[in-house]
Structure formats: C-alpha cells, structure tokens
C-alpha cells in the first residue's frame, strides 16, 4: 500500500505532522513505518499537548528514587525497601467494553510495576460514571467493577481502596483509573534503558494477536455514534497468564541476567522497543518472523501495533538466554529471541528477510511533536450570597440522611466486597477507610495509599481544584497516621485542541504543582488522558491523585471509627461556613455556581503536621478528614464505623448551623481524644496556632444535636449503606 496524506490522516496524524515525518525520513514512509509514527506520535504516547506543562511539576525529593519517565515512580521507605507505584487511565476501552477495558487497565498498571522488579502489594482505583439515572450507568458500573475484580482477584493482589463518583458529565465517557503499589529492594530495581550492543532482545509472555491494534490511537480520539464499532480494538485480558508472567519475571530478576526490561503496554512492541533503544541511545533490530503470533499471516504492521496483553520485552546479557528460557518454560510462557541491540540508533525491522522499517529512533521520540496549545484561564466566579430563606424549609437531619445516601457519599461496600482486599495477608485497613493500608511483609512498616479527585471543584476553578485534590490526598494519609511521601497523578481531561479544556488542564496542573511543592509531596509518576469527550461535550476536568504515605510501626495506625464513649471530639482547622460548590449547595440547595472553597496551603501544612504530631504522641484515638459533606457527614461516618453516637455542641459562631455542619472549608480534620489528654492536646494545638473547635462527646449510640434533634446510628447506617445496593438490584 502506497502511503499518502489521506492515509496518514486516517491514522490520526495531522497534515503538518505527516509532512514532518516525510521531512525527517527524507522520503515517504511505508505503511508499517506510518503505523509506528502514528502510534508514537499520538497524544497517549507522546504527551505532545501536555509535556510542556508537566515539566513544571515538582518531581524531586529526598525520598524519591525515580520520578516520572520510567514505567512507574519509586520512593524510598527505609531499610533498603522501596515502593514502586503509578496510576493509569483506561477510560476509552472501559466505556466501549467495561469488563475487558477495566480488567486490562488493572493488568497494565500491575505490569508497569512488576516490570521494575517490584512485587505488586496493593491495587486501588478511581472510577467515575455518569448520572445514576443515565441508561448506561448501571451496566457500565457493574461491568467495570467485575473487570477490576476479575483481574486483581485472580492475580492475588489486594484491592485496598479507591473512590467512585457519579456526575452527568461522564454520561458518555466514564473514567477508569487504576493504581498499583509494588515492593522492591532498593538495589534490585529494573529500568527500561538498554545498554551495550549485540545484546539479545527477548520477547516473553502471551502470543501476539490482532487485538488492540491502534488502541493508543483510540485513546486519543473523540467518541461519536460509531464508538461501538471500536469494540474489536479493545484488548482482552488474561489474568492467569499475567500471574505466570509476574512470577516468571520476578524469578528471572532474582538473578543478574537482565539489562533492561519494558512491558508492552500502549502501542505494544512499537513503544516498548523504541523506549528501550531511545533511553539507551542505541538502535534495535527485530526479526518479526520470530514474534510468537496467535493468528496466521499477521503482517509486520499488525505485529508492531498489536496491543495484546501480558507481554514483555527484555534485553539480556549475552549467553543468558538458556537460563532465562528455562524459567519461562517452567511457567509455560512463550520465550523468543527476536532481535538485538545495535549501534545504529535506528529501529530496523525485518520480515521474510526483507527490511520492512528503518527509522531513526530520535525521530520517533525527541523529534516527536510538542505543542504549546492555546488555552483559556478560568475566571473565578462570584460567590453566592445565601440568606435565611435558602435554609428556611430545611431540617438538619433530613439533610444529613439525604447526604449520607447521596451516590457520591454513600457506602461503596457493594463495590469493594467484589474485590479481594485481604489476599497476601497484610491488609490492615481495607476499603472504606480514609486510606487503605498494607504492611510491608515481615516488617513493622506499613504503607498507606489513597486516591482522590474533586471534579466539581476543578470544574468551577481548575487552579484551586488542582491544589485541593493534592491537599485531600495529603489529609487522607495523615488521618490514618501516615507520613505523606509522594503522589502519582492521572490527568483526565477533554479535548486539548479546545482552549477551555486546555485551560482546565494547564491550571489544574499548576494547582497540583503548587500544592505538591508546598507540601513537599512530589509527583513521581502519572499519565494524561485527553479527549475524554463525546461529540462536543467534555468531561469535568478530573485529575485523580494517588498518594502514598509511610507508617513506621503499623501498630500505631489510626482508624476513623469512634472508640470510646465520653471521649472528646475536636474539629481541627477553622470552619468559616463556606458553602459554594459543596455537595450541600449543589444537591440540596441546587446552587451549582460559585467558586470552590479556598485553599490556604499554610494552614493545610500546619494543621496536617500538627495532627500527625498528635498521632505520633499517641494522643489521637480516631481521626478522619473533613471533605465532601462537611463536619456532620464526617462525624456520622465515624459514628457508623464505630457504632457509637455523638453529642454535638455546636460552638457559638456567627454562622448558622447548616453553614457550620455542611460547609466544605478545607484543611480540617475530626479527631477523637481521651479526656485526660485534652489539656496536652490543647497546648500543642495552641502552640502551633492551629484553630480547633470542641465539637462534642462520644455517646453510646444516637447523634444528638439538641433535645429535639437526634437520630440513631442504625438509621444512619441504613441511609449510608442502602442506596448503592438498591440501585444495583433494581
């Protein structure tokens, strides 16, 4: 097939990009070469719209071993142990085929982690669906949850946390972001940088089929009515093979034979081989006849662009092929020497003894397009002025019950009961907590992980929203007693070619950068997903932040359940009564405008560090961050978990009780302390200039606001637990 401009456009390349390819090659590419360019230059692989802005994120820190640019980020957790972690999106495939899309998302991120030599020890996920009333939502939710479970459960890695959100902006484009943490010894981390020439290049894992061809290009396209036709490009997952691949790779990694290793994720053999060559400033020569294929007569084009799952590419030391093959034979996996490293700095492909592609590596990577797209700043909206009339008809307990059963606040037990969250025997805080926690096997250490997003805040004001998500992640980790270390981000946005969407991206990234820099909470890995768009309508800007923290002695971790009657409950941080963009405003008052709550980074840091300090001094019995739904929702959850009540004495303030109870002012925590420690706690708070309110006393059952206003915990449990189960059953 003779390549021309229109074929290039069909491959998702622009006219200018096609011309650039011809100029770089000084000739017209053949079809295989064009396929390779289109895969490497699409948004998903090249980050052409985002690179410029991502550069500004803080990525370094004392505990950072590896920042962005590798398969995953790596942080130091002491004693030669390191945690490898990353979050990644699999949005487009999950909308088309929810089970396989979500399953292969989980499979892909686990591969990114064990490629670096780490055994996966925990999975998390952040999933966003359309309005519960939308006709597709229920089936998509069911399929995605099954897919995530189907893959993670089979591999035997616990799913320890996550979040599920509903918002009509995802009606035509759901989000499935999967995150994995792995554990590795600091001196046994593996990288993708090839080194040395004439080293064998090895293909291991599943055979290559025609599934997922151009998957990465699909991820960079806008959905339209014809989206169902894309079903054949969704990859099919085989968790059993991945489990074998995991064990086989870790067995091989125990030795000294691997020079570089890279999983075949988006754009399969193309991106993995080019990545290794590019990082090592080498060339790679592959004989495509040696690639184990599942189907007959696959063309070089198909072999290079297939996104069949559960495959790895390895550069081995010379002479180690036999030893390596033995391991893969034991695990019944394909093993084939398919090429070698060269000093040509080119990727050269052979098929039936003919050269079918010959491309300088730098044209695919360094010379890939980078755009400074036009973007528009989002103006800060005017604050809403609420007056007494807005609250007149409201009863506080009705509001509480409504919020507890709100799809975005209610218990997600129906979801996480379908995930194996206890396999590996080290899960000490399970889903439904502020952060999931797993012990570092055989040690006293534990790692806490949380994943958060706040699309409504980000939509109302991306800069503030970006900061807020990072702060929320930080608070969630502190609430369980973990020292926050670093984050990974999954940036889900609309069409970067539109100024508004690009502006949302730029300002969210700026916000994330500011907060993570201030909190010394660097970004060590991540991924960008653009074109989350159906026809003209984009999703709300949705950065998902995955945060990791360390607990030195797991026995000191904090849970959110109230522990003992008569204990004192404090609100740490100041409550101004800020309602705009709160779930109370949006879903009860039906006021959807206004700016999100402001972020004061000084207060965030000071309040958080002070709470952590109280925890370290063993003065805190339970803790929970105040987020969606404000104080009353936060304490209700603590009551529900602990099956205890609370007598609330609203502090004397000028603001009314709705503003006090449901506002979403930032930088706040609820903590439970023993009476006899109150004096010491107060001194520490005052010394650090941390504002606190005495909220009340833990009771046996019932939340009591005043004599006439009380509710039993059992009723609250009903409100909180039933919505999702009922929704899924009907």
């Amino acid at each position: 097939m003779q390549v021309n401009e229109s074929i290039a456009i069909e491959h998702g390349l622009s006219k200018i990009e096609y011309k650039k390819i011809c100029d770089l090659l000084k000739r017209t590419p053949n079809i295989t070469e064009l396929g390779i360019f289109s895969a490497m230059w699409n948004e998903h692989c090249s980050y052409k719209s985002s690179r410029l802005h991502l550069k500004n994120l803080p990525t370094k820190g004392k505990k950072v071993i590896q920042g962005p640019g590798e398969n995953a980020g790596v942080i130091d957790i002491g004693d030669d142990d390191a945690i490898v972690f990353k979050i990644e999106s699999h949005n487009h495939p999950s909308f088309i085929e929810p089970y396989q899309g979500a399953a292969t998302g989980v499979g892909g991120i686990m591969r990114d982690v064990f490629t670096m030599g780490a055994r996966p020890i925990a999975n998390l996920n952040s999933i966003h669906f359309g309005s519960p009333q939308h006709k597709k939502t229920k089936n998509l939710l069911r399929g995605v949850v099954r897919g995530i479970g189907g893959y993670g459960n089979c591999i035997g890695v616990p799913t320890i946390g996550g979040q599920t959100c509903f918002d009509e902006s995802y009606n035509g484009n759901i989000l499935v972001n999967a995150m994995t943490l792995g554990l590795v010894k600091k001196n046994k981390i593996f990288y993708s940088k090839a080194a040395g020439i004439n080293k064998p290049v090895i293909y291991v894992g599943s055979k290559t089929g025609r599934d997922g061809i151009h998957g990465a290009s699909m991820a960079s396209a806008i959905f339209d009515e014809k989206i169902e036709e894309k079903k054949p490009t969704v990859q099919v997952g085989d968790p059993f093979t991945e489990k074998l691949l995991l064990e086989a790779c870790l067995e091989l990694m125990a030795g000294e034979s691997i020079i570089a290793i890279q999983d075949m994720g988006a754009a399969g053999l193309t991106s993995s081989s080019i990545e290794m060559a590019s990082k090592g400033k080498l060339g790679i020569e592959l004989n495509l006849n040696k690639v184990p294929c599942r189907e007959l007569n696959m063309t070089p084009y198909e072999i290079m662009l297939s996104e069949s799952q559960e495959r790895m590419l390895i550069v081995l030391e010379n002479g180690k092929e036999k030893e390596a093959k033995k391991i893969f034979d034991k695990w019944n996996l394909d093993f084939s020497v398919i090429g070698k490293t060269t000093n040509s700095k080119k990727i050269e492909l052979f098929y039936d003894e003919k050269k079918v592609a010959d491309i300088p590596v730098d044209t695919l990577v360094e010379n890939s397009p980078m755009y400074d797209r036009k973007w528009k700043k989002t103006k800060l909206q005017k604050k809403n002025k609420l007056n007494k009339d807005n609250f007149k008809s409201l009863k506080i307990l009705n509001v509480l019950n409504k919020l507890l059963s709100n799809p975005n606040i209610c218990s997600k037990e129906w979801i996480w009961e379908q995930y194996d969250h206890t396999v590996m025997g080290d899960t000490i805080q399970k889903p439904g907590s502020d952060a999931g926690i797993v012990r570092v096997h055989g040690t006293n250490k534990a790692v806490a992980a949380s994943v958060d997003s706040s699309a409504s805040y980000c939509y109302a004001h991306p800069l503030t929203g970006g900061k807020q998500v990072v702060c929320e992640s930080w608070r969630n980790l502190i609430s369980v007693g973990a020292e926050p270390i670093a984050i990974t981000n999954c940036l889900n946005f609309g069409n970067p070619e539109k100024e508004e969407n690009m502006g949302e991206f730029v300002e969210c990234v700026q916000g994330i950068g500011e907060a993570s820099k201030y909190l010394n909470f660097p970004v060590v890995s991540g991924n960008v997903s653009f074109y989350n768009q159906t026809k003209e309508k984009g999703i709300k800007p949705t950065p998902s932040i995955g945060g990791i923290g360390l607990i030195k002695n797991y026995k000191d971790m904090i849970t959110m359940d109230f522990k003992k009657t008569d204990n004192i409950v404090l609100v740490i941080g100041k409550t101004e009564g800020y309602l705009d963009q709160s779930i109370f405003s949006r879903d009860i008052l039906r006021v959807k405008t206004g700016p999100p709550p402001e972020i004061n980074l000084f207060n965030e840091k000071n309040n958080g560090q002070t709470v952590l300090n109280l925890i370290k001094k063993k003065l805190v019995r339970s803790a929970h961050d105040v987020s969606l739904g404000g104080i009353l929702v936060a304490v209700s959850k603590m009551c529900i978990k602990g099956k205890k009540g609370l007598e609330i004495k609203k502090p004397k303030q000028l603001i009314n009780q709705f503003e006090y109870m449901f506002s979403e002012d930032q930088g706040r925590f609820i903590v439970e302390i023993e009476k006899e420690n109150y004096k010491q706690v107060r001194e520490i708070l005052e010394k650090n200039s941390v504002h606190y309110d005495e909220l009340g006393i833990v009771l046996h059952k019932d939340i009591v606001i005043d004599e006439k206003t009380k509710v039993s915990i059992d009723d609250l449990i009903q409100s909180n637990n039933n919505w999702l189960k009922k929704y899924m059953d009907t």
């Binding site: 099954r146 479970g149 189907g150 459960n153 089979c154 591999i155 035997g156 085989d238 968790p239 059993f240 093979t241 489990k243 074998l244 695990w331 019944n332 996480w416 009961e417 379908q418 995930y419 194996d420 969250h421 206890t422 396999v423 590996m424 025997g425 080290d426 899960t427 000490i428 399970k430 012990r439 797991y554 026995k555």
Partner: protein, 227 residues
C-alpha cells in the same frame, strides 16, 4: 510437624498459607505442581487461588495435575489433607470430597468476613477447639456448595459437615449464607474426616490487625491436635 503446600500455576494464597503454617509451628515445604512425589508430611494443603486460571470448571485442571496422584495416595492412606477455597474446589473435582462448588447465588465475587459454626467431634481439625463459632474471611466467586440428595444423605449420616455459615450467635439462617450454599455448608469432611475442604480462609486471619484473629485459634488447635 511437617506440612506441604502445593503450588499450582495460578495459586495465590500459597504464600499466605506458608506464613500461617510457619507462624504456628509447622515446618512447611512448598511443592510444585509438576513434581510427582510429596515429601513426608503430617499435613498437606491445597491453597486458594485460580489454579490454571480456573478457565475450565474451578479446580478441574488441577485435579489432573502431575502431583495430584500422590496427593490422593497420601489422603487415601489417612494423611491430613486440607483444601481452602480453590483447594476445596480441587478436592471436589478429584472426588476426594462429594459435591461441587457452583457460582455464587448472586453471581458476584464476595470478599468479606463470615461466621461459621464448626463440627468439633472426632476430627483432627477442630476437636478440642476453644471456640465453636469462628469469624473467618471468604473471597470467592464459586463457593455455592451443591450435591445430590443421596450425597447429602451420606454427608449427614456420616457427620461429614465440617462448617456451616451462621450468624455471630451461631444460628444457621439464610441471611448468614453468603453464596447460596446448600444447607449453609461452608466446609465438609470425607467420611474418615482426614480430608477437609472449606471456603473460608483461616490463613488470612492470624493476627488482630488483620480482619480478625480466629484463624490463629484454628491453627493453634490444629497443631496441638497433631502433636
């Protein structure tokens, strides 16, 4: 006490079982599915997971694996053989235990704590145990025990029920049955009671920081029965 845990490709509770057995005093060895001989063992365990991917009926491929002949021989000669979760499914597939484990009633994977009432008479697994209601963890998609009425009659006549799903007070009711298992059966013995298959995972509940500590009660009792 010597124990052996068989690893099939796709097993994923093998390490957890190894950790638990060693914690309570067993000298444990891991045995690869392609081996043909078991080492001398006082207890052999088939662990949980997805042996061979469970793409065919759960446990059916494992029941044809190389190691399985010597597992069967070991059990037939009276050795203690325990299958947890996928291990239980393998035991029914080898027909060392009667019945089958069908897909859960609500067709969903279930991962949560359950209570089981255990049968502590005349068997080395539970006799002398200090609690007869244990809180353990389940994590499975196919744990819905089913058998023919003849088989059920034999099971009852021979006192082969090892554990029943119950509430925390020990009452056997529908509400406590997580997966639709016939008569709330969570685990059964063979007639001689040297073979135990059960869905709940005692190895995941071996200290109080986990979902619970009743697995410790089980393992402590088991090893003291064997001494």
């Amino acid at each position: 006490m010597n124990s052996s845990v068989v690893i099939f490709p796709g097993s994923n509770c093998d390490r957890d079982m190894d950790v638990a057995l060693k914690k309570f005093g067993f000298k444990n060895k891991m045995i690869w599915h392609n081996d043909v001989e078991l080492p001398k063992s006082d207890l052999v365990v088939l662990p949980g997971g997805f042996s061979y991917g469970d793409y065919l009926r759960c446990g059916s491929m494992a029941s044809k694996s190389k190691i399985i002949d010597s597992v069967i021989k070991f059990a037939k000669s009276g050795g203690l053989l325990m299958g947890i979760c996928n291990g239980f499914q393998i035991l029914t597939e080898t027909e060392l235990l009667p019945g089958a484990l069908l897909r859960n009633k609500y067709s969903q994977f279930i991962c949560k704590n359950v209570f089981i009432k255990i049968n502590d008479s005349k068997n080395n697994y539970f006799k002398n145990i200090k609690k007869n209601i244990l809180e353990l963890h389940i994590a499975h998609n196919e744990g819905n025990f089913f058998c023919s009425s003849d088989q059920m009659k034999n099971i009852n006549d021979n006192n082969q029920i090892a554990a029943l799903y119950c509430n925390k007070n020990g009452e056997i009711d529908d509400k406590s049955n997580p997966n639709g298992a016939m008569n709330n059966i969570a685990g059964i013995f063979n007639k001689e009671k040297n073979i135990l298959g059960m869905m709940p995972h005692p190895e995941r509940m071996i200290d109080k920081y986990l979902s619970g500590d009743d697995g410790s009660v089980f393992f402590q009792n088991l090893i003291s029965n064997l001494k």
